[in-house]
């Protein structure tokens, strides 16, 4: 597949007002609003375009499987520090468009924090280049980061440049027996101290804590923090968390609540897991009160995974204020005037 093919497909759809459903690996079909439109398969536009370990960046086409990127980085001792879920067959484009980060988010930052540049095909079939391959660039509005998490509604991410980082030298995992309230309190206390904590995961009375960094720092922190070393293979464990294959994420309905880190345990049933130092909380019941509870705490709730019967009744993402919604619409229009790209995937209104 060539860039010209992508451009031609979008131009044609623009010409005929045909809604398109952009699809990379299809690994996140479950995520966001209901799928609509004619499938535009971009998985064929793939391949790593440039990778310079000492410049700390990698540029690849949108259809490149994340697994291929990770493998290439690993050869040079580097990685994507935000640890995006690869699910089965996730592509780079889908990863950035969905904006989902994994356990590394707690310390290293989110997908958007690592986006340096994008090549975009907008809703009229125009190719636009924003950002670049350097670490710092404040010329013009930061459109590259705006696109992270936009779920394909502003354009097809044809190519993305990400900042990459070296793998930590040492990594250790500790386990603590704590209830949810204690876990949240501890995580926040630790968060205020210079400890090399890189990930956390609480589930069913156990808090898992990952320490990453220089060997000496990790060892020192382990002896200071106590707990017990993980009895299972820690790499496998964190991989299961990242890929959401841990039993905590199982079941038909999953709510994802993002809250200020120190928020006490919410009065909601079905708490499955806590991540990101307390900022991310997963609930498994059909807790339709989740949205109100998250908002009351200063956060927001996403209906992350649900059967179609629920998805067609409840929006995936927390509603925007009227002023923000109007602004979203204007921005959407400026990139995709006819509204043909992934309509309804982010919000039903556009």
């Amino acid at each position: 597949m060539k860039l010209d093919d992508l451009v031609a497909a979008i131009r044609a759809a623009h010409g005929s007002h045909t809604p398109l459903r952009i699809r990379g690996g299809g690994s996140k079909d479950f995520y966001g609003g209901m799928l609509a439109g004619e499938v535009l398969d971009v998985a064929g536009y793939r391949g790593i375009v440039a990778y310079e370990p000492t410049e700390l960046y990698l540029t690849a086409r949108c259809g490149t499987p994340l697994a291929e990127i990770e493998a290439t980085l690993a050869e040079c001792g580097q990685r994507l520090a935000f640890e995006p879920p690869g699910f089965f067959g996730a592509t780079l484009g889908g990863c950035v468009a969905a904006g989902l980060s994994g356990p590394g988010r707690q310390q290293a930052g989110a997908v958007r924090d690592f986006v340096l540049g994008v090549k975009l095909v907008d809703g009229t079939g125009q190719v636009l280049d924003f950002g670049g391959q350097v670490m710092k660039n404040v010329a013009g509005y930061d459109v590259s980061r705006l696109l992270a998490g936009s779920l394909g509604t502003l354009g097809v991410l044809a190519e993305v440049t990400l900042k990459v980082l070296p793998k930590p030298v040492a990594e250790r995992t500790l386990v603590f027996g704590l209830d949810a309230a204690e876990a949240v309190a501890r995580l926040n206390q630790w968060g205020g101290r210079p400890l090399p904590i890189s990930a956390s995961f609480w589930h069913d009375g156990q808090l898992w804590l990952r320490l990453s960094g220089a060997g000496a720092a990790v060892e020192a922190a382990c002896s200071e923090l106590g707990g017990r070393p993980a009895s299972v293979d820690a790499d496998n464990f964190w991989h299961a968390v990242r890929e959401q294959r841990h039993p905590a994420y199982a079941g038909g309905v999953l709510w994802r609540l993002a809250v200020p880190t120190a928020t006490p345990v919410l009065p909601l049933a079905g708490l499955r897991a806590i991540e990101w130092g307390g900022a991310l909380r997963w609930y498994g019941e059909e807790a339709e009160t989740a949205r109100a509870a998250a908002a009351a705490a200063g956060g927001h709730a996403t209906l992350y995974r649900a059967p179609e019967s629920l998805r067609c009744r409840v929006d995936a993402f927390a509603p925007l204020s009227p002023a923000l919604l109007a602004l979203h619409r204007r921005l959407k229009k400026s990139f995709d005037p006819l509204g043909i790209l992934n309509p309804g995937r982010l919000y039903a209104e556009f």
């Binding site: 410049e55 509005y141 205020g192 809250v259």
Partner: protein, 494 residues
């Protein structure tokens, strides 16, 4: 550079003053020329303009009222923090109002457990870290101007500092902003919770140079202060070797807390002023900081030392005390004023390039010094490829400023040609408006214009800055070609 105000705005001074008096108390409004004078420029003093009025609101309601008034009257508004900007971003509009946020100087809330602070936009960068210090926390982005510059200005410019490579820029450290639109509407953007729903408008707002809205509140992330920090100072007898050493550190899998470079003219200017202890025989010095637990720092310093030796450092010194570490940095942080002492005027550039092109860039700058007949000292956020060449000139000498400007433009355009950007942290402002036409093509510039219109349809917020008009790019393109000195013919143009 010609930045003659576009004729699209015509404001009646008396009517404007009358309307503003309706919404602001007398002590919050300046209209007399002598009172306006201090606002005529920012840190880039070569570009000046007097506004018609300066508003100094004391609460958000007044900001809303001023913006509504200007919106109704079709008057340009230029927001202003401390005025330390280096690209003319806060330079007033001749037909407009300066909206100073200087009186928004309160830290509203500091939550040590959640590690965040809610501050007003006029709070100084350093004041946040000072307030957080008793809790063992600090705000990571540390521009060299941090004793003076404000959080509002930092947000507008996406400012960085010497610790960005490891700790990120403003965009990585701000959780939420409250913004008033030109129509006087209030937006909450971002939140204390991660990944706010909808588009990442926070990313769009940060670095938008006061073009999209006026920031009235900022929530920043605070991070724990590392137990220890130490700096290695390495001397090199060749700038190329110093540049290669930077790449070797990264290649060794090390992301230092800070990685800065200064060339000989820069250290020569700094040393008599600060007595930082720099090696004055070196062609270039590198400052490489390591932070963390004592064990971690010891381990990293050992690795860095080895890499630097292998890269051909002629001398290495490791700070032996906090006082010595601060002294090493004091020289770097005072580099601009130090250069200011040895020349009547200096012009600070801000291009970024891939690290590996550093030696090439420095060689080109040396040639440009001859070509333009001006000296240049180089300080460099080497870790993230961000150059700060300081071009020395004398504004009192006819023609020198024009030469300095041409010199600067050439550096910026070479930055783009080498795969970088015209600005890493100081913003486009008015200064680099022409070079935007070099870095971006028409479709991208049009996309920027549409984004601007989505926030500010009438184009009243900071007009003439950051995003050039089509007309300006056409003119600039013609001028370049006309003079027959098309600089980098391999570049795609206009």
């Amino acid at each position: 550079m010609d930045f003659s105000p576009d004729a699209s705005f015509q404001t009646d001074r008396a009517t404007l003053a009358r309307q503003l008096r309706l919404v602001l108390p007398a002590h919050c409004l300046l209209v007399d020329e002598e009172d306006l004078r201090p606002y005529e420029c920012d840190g880039l003093t070569a570009y000046r303009e007097l506004p018609l009025a300066v508003c100094l609101p004391e609460n958000e309601g007044q900001v809303v009222d001023v913006l509504r008034t200007c919106h109704q009257m079709g008057v340009p508004v230029v927001a202003r923090g401390a005025g330390t900007g280096l690209s003319g971003g806060a330079m007033p509009h001749a037909q407009g109002v300066v909206l100073s946020l200087a009186r928004f100087n309160k830290i509203i809330r500091l939550d040590p457990l959640a590690r965040l602070a809610v501050v007003q936009p006029g709070v100084r960068n350093l004041a946040v870290s000072e307030a957080a210090a008793p809790h063992g926390l600090y705000y990571a982005p540390d521009p060299s101007s941090q004793i003076a510059c404000t959080l509002g200005g930092n947000v507008a410019e996406n400012s960085g500092g010497v610790h960005c490579l490891k700790y990120g820029l403003t965009v990585h450290n701000v959780l939420r902003v409250r913004v008033v639109s030109i129509e006087g509407e209030i937006f909450e953007i971002g939140s204390e919770a991660p990944d706010a729903p909808g588009y990442d408008l926070l990313a769009l707002l940060i670095g938008s140079e006061g073009m999209l809205g006026v920031v009235t509140e900022v929530t920043v992330k605070l991070v724990p202060r590392p137990e220890l920090a130490q700096v290695v100072m390495a001397s090199f007898d060749d700038v190329g070797k110093a540049g290669a050493a930077v790449a070797s550190i990264i290649a060794a899998g090390i992301i230092p807390a800070g990685l800065e470079m200064m060339d000989k003219p820069a250290t020569a200017a700094v040393e008599p002023y600060v007595k930082a202890g720099y090696d004055l025989n070196a062609e270039a010095i590198l400052l490489c900081e390591s932070d963390g637990t004592p064990e971690e720092v010891a381990e990293e310093i050992a690795r860095v030392t080895e890499v630097l030796k292998a890269a051909g450092a002629s001398d290495l010194r490791v700070s032996q005390s906090e006082a010595e570490r601060l002294r090493f940095w004091a020289g770097r942080k005072a580099a601009f004023p130090a250069v200011g002492r040895i020349t009547p005027d200096y012009y600070c550039m801000d291009g970024t390039i891939p690290r590996k092109r550093l030696a090439e860039m420095l060689a080109a700058i040396a040639d440009m010094e001859k070509k333009h007949g001006l000296r240049c000292a180089n300080v460099f956020h080497a870790g993230d490829g961000n150059l700060h060449p300081l071009i020395m000139y004398d504004a009192a000498q006819p023609g020198e400023w024009a030469r300095a400007e041409a010199f600067g433009a050439e550096i910026l355009e070479l930055s783009v040609a080498l795969g970088g950007s015209i600005t890493g942290e100081h913003g486009v402002g008015i200064e680099k408006i022409n070079q935007m036409c070099v870095q971006y093509k028409t479709p991208e510039l049009n996309a920027f214009r549409r984004i601007k219109a989505a926030f500010d349809e009438g184009g009243l917020l900071n007009p003439g800055k950051a995003v050039p008009s089509l007309h300006r790019c056409a003119e600039y393109g013609r001028m370049h070609v006309h003079h027959g000195d098309l600089k980098f013919p391999e570049l795609e143009r206009f």
